[in-house]
């Protein structure tokens, strides 16, 4: 059940994005938060696509960390080895990743069931091994440095504030684009698939084509996120793209709520802050905290945080109608 997204809520969202660095810079305890928000924004790009895949096509991918990594490494290799323009690296990364995603995903998405999870798991492991072992190209476990930064209209995106606005501008654009998809004929077809594949097929929806489209779209977004990451840090190494990262993405979506596009953003932001800021004391035990979050959300809040308003509304209605009896 996806709720209609109003223009006002998007406007409000944009306003928060714009004001956040201003507010943060005035409070010393959270002065560095815009930097963390850059990573949160990068993850949002992945989770927006991934939540379409999970929430609509009902499919799980364990390979999005790998698509993210492919984007990052294509940017890294093409800029450092061949001196290419970062923007073209980003586009080429997205195109190549889409093709790879199509090849990896199409066979399993044509089948019924959860074969995609297995195919992408295997794919993620293989890509991680390649990042580690192809030392000549990827620098192996040490990674690659010296990746060039981005310049927009002759304006280098070399400060936290600039990159923050740049990344979140892209998140906003992708968010609106995705909401448009959901609220149109394509989105209706996706919701139909989610509700009854048989009825969707009987009404002429090419179910596997839509699943493949969503999967490819989400992989392309992950690749763009990877490029943004590489051009921001000017450094990549394999550890950012392991299977655990793919699982963290799923936790982001579970926490935020996979049936709500807002959930992708809420989940990504919260988990990013836990990751970079709030979970430091736990050190090795960090993974237990993620496990606990996943467990608690699945049991007590299957609709995720974005589902809370609906629960509250439902609860309110019930109490009101009980009261009037």
């Amino acid at each position: 059940m996806m709720l209609r997204i109003s223009k006002y809520s998007i406007f409000f969202f944009a306003l928060i994005i714009i004001l956040f660095p201003r507010i943060a810079s005035n409070i010393s305890a959270i002065e560095h938060y815009p930097d963390i928000m850059i990573f949160a924004g990068i993850y949002c790009l992945i989770t927006i696509g991934l939540s379409l895949l999970m929430g609509y096509a009902g499919q799980i991918s364990l390979g999005h960390g790998a698509f993210y990594g492919i984007g990052a490494y294509i940017s890294a290799i093409l800029t450092t080895r061949f001196g290419w323009n970062p923007w073209s690296c980003m586009v080429i990364g997205a195109v190549i990743t889409s093709i790879v995603a199509f090849v990896v995903g199409a066979p399993s998405l044509k089948l019924k069931g959860h074969y995609l999870a297995m195919a992408t798991l295997a794919f993620g492991v293989i890509v991680f091994i390649i990042f580690n072992e192809e030392i000549e190209w990827t620098g192996g476990p040490d990674g690659m440095t010296g990746i060039s930064g981005l310049t927009l209209f002759g304006f280098p995106l070399n400060t936290v504030e600039r990159y923050y606005y740049f990344v979140w501008g892209i998140v906003l654009a992708v968010f609106i684009f995705t909401v448009n998809i959901i609220q149109s004929g394509s989105g209706r077809a996706l919701r139909a698939i989610h509700s009854s594949e048989a009825a969707a097929m009987a009404m002429g929806v090419d179910v596997s084509r839509y699943k493949i489209m969503v999967f490819t779209y989400s992989a392309a977004l992950a690749s763009v996120a990877g490029s943004l990451y590489a051009h921001y840090l000017n450094f990549v190494n394999p550890s950012s793209f392991d299977i655990f990262f793919s699982i963290k993405l799923l936790i982001m979506i579970a926490l935020g709520g996979m049936h709500y596009i807002w959930g992708a953003i809420i989940g990504a932001v919260i988990i990013t802050f836990l990751n970079y800021e709030w979970l430091h004391y736990f050190e090795e035990l960090e993974i237990l905290v993620y496990g606990a979050i996943l467990l608690i959300v699945t049991i007590f809040l299957p609709q995720g945080l974005a589902g809370i308003p609906a629960i509250v509304k439902h609860w309110f209605r019930r109490t009101l109608s009980d009261g009037s009896r």
């Binding site: 996806m2 684009f177 998809i181 149109s184 004929g185 139909a192 009854s196 009825a199 969707a200 009404m203």
Partner: protein
């Protein structure tokens, strides 16, 4: 005469599930513009026949021609695109959508939408969407559900859900519509409404094939009756002919009259 033209021709169809012959070589021609009722005891293969026609099952043997085109190896969505629509024995409405959206989805075959055109909300896409919305409202008026257009589909009572499913099937502007037990589970009034709706669909020139329990309804509305038993055609003819066919009487009496 136009009405005498066969729109769907089926011959020598075999559908086996392991050793079970759910369909064994029925052959018949559905004439354009008619209502054909498919009857037979439970497990006779009626739903299986629909699943084979609409591409949900691929038969082991036999041929199906829709307007002289073989449709046997086509996928369900391709068959829908050719103009065969259907409903399901157990209602399959989209419960995560409103009543209107359910019908709008029915227009999918007429919609060329891609992520790119939807994402950028190109003018053509918006125009199409508006057009579909108003056509869907027309269909809701036709099936008598326009007052509930904005309600969640799963909030409707079963009878209206079944009618909504028919409306959604009509949205694709089919030449042939297969209704699997449209009146099952309905009370007398609802069942009466369903019959008149089916008659109205025929009036629009759509060929109807339906599975129906209620013999009175079958006799009232159908032009032809196909009787299946154990996957085989045991009779095919007008309601009058069927009523007096000894084979049919035997099949039903032999089954303690538990027919559907």
């Amino acid at each position: 005469m136009e009405a005498d033209k066969g729109i769907l021709k089926i011959s020598e169809l075999v559908m086996a599930f392991g050793g079970l012959m759910a369909l064994y070589k029925p052959d018949f021609v559905i004439r354009q513009g008619t209502i054909t009722a498919v009857i037979g005891p439970n497990g006779a293969g009626k739903t299986t026949l629909f699943n084979v026609i609409t591409g949900f099952l691929t038969p082991n043997e036999g041929t199906i021609h829709f307007r002289d085109q073989s449709i046997i190896n086509l996928k369900p969505h391709e068959i829908a695109g050719l103009g065969i629509s259907r409903t399901f024995q157990t209602v399959e409405i989209f419960e995560n959508m409103t009543v209107l959206e359910n019908v709008m989805l029915g227009f999918h075959t007429k919609l060329r939408s891609s992520f790119i055109s939807s994402g950028f909300q190109l003018p053509l896409t918006r125009r199409k969407e508006k057009e579909i919305k108003s056509k869907a409202m027309d269909i809701l008026k036709f099936i008598g559900l326009s007052g509930k257009w904005n309600e969640p589909a799963d909030s409707l009572p079963l009878g209206e859900q079944k009618v909504l499913e028919i409306g959604r099937a009509l949205a694709s502007d089919p030449a042939l519509i297969c209704l699997d037990e449209p009146a099952a589970g309905l009370n007398e009034t609802e069942s009466h409404l369903a019959s008149s709706l089916i008659m109205a669909i025929k009036e629009k020139g759509v060929t109807v094939v339906l599975v129906e329990h209620d013999m009175k309804v079958v006799m009232d509305i159908s032009d032809e009756v196909l009787v299946l038993n154990y996957g085989q055609k045991i009779a095919y003819g007008t309601p009058e002919e069927i009523k007096n066919d000894p084979k049919v009487i035997e099949a039903y009496l032999g089954d303690d009259g538990a027919y559907a």
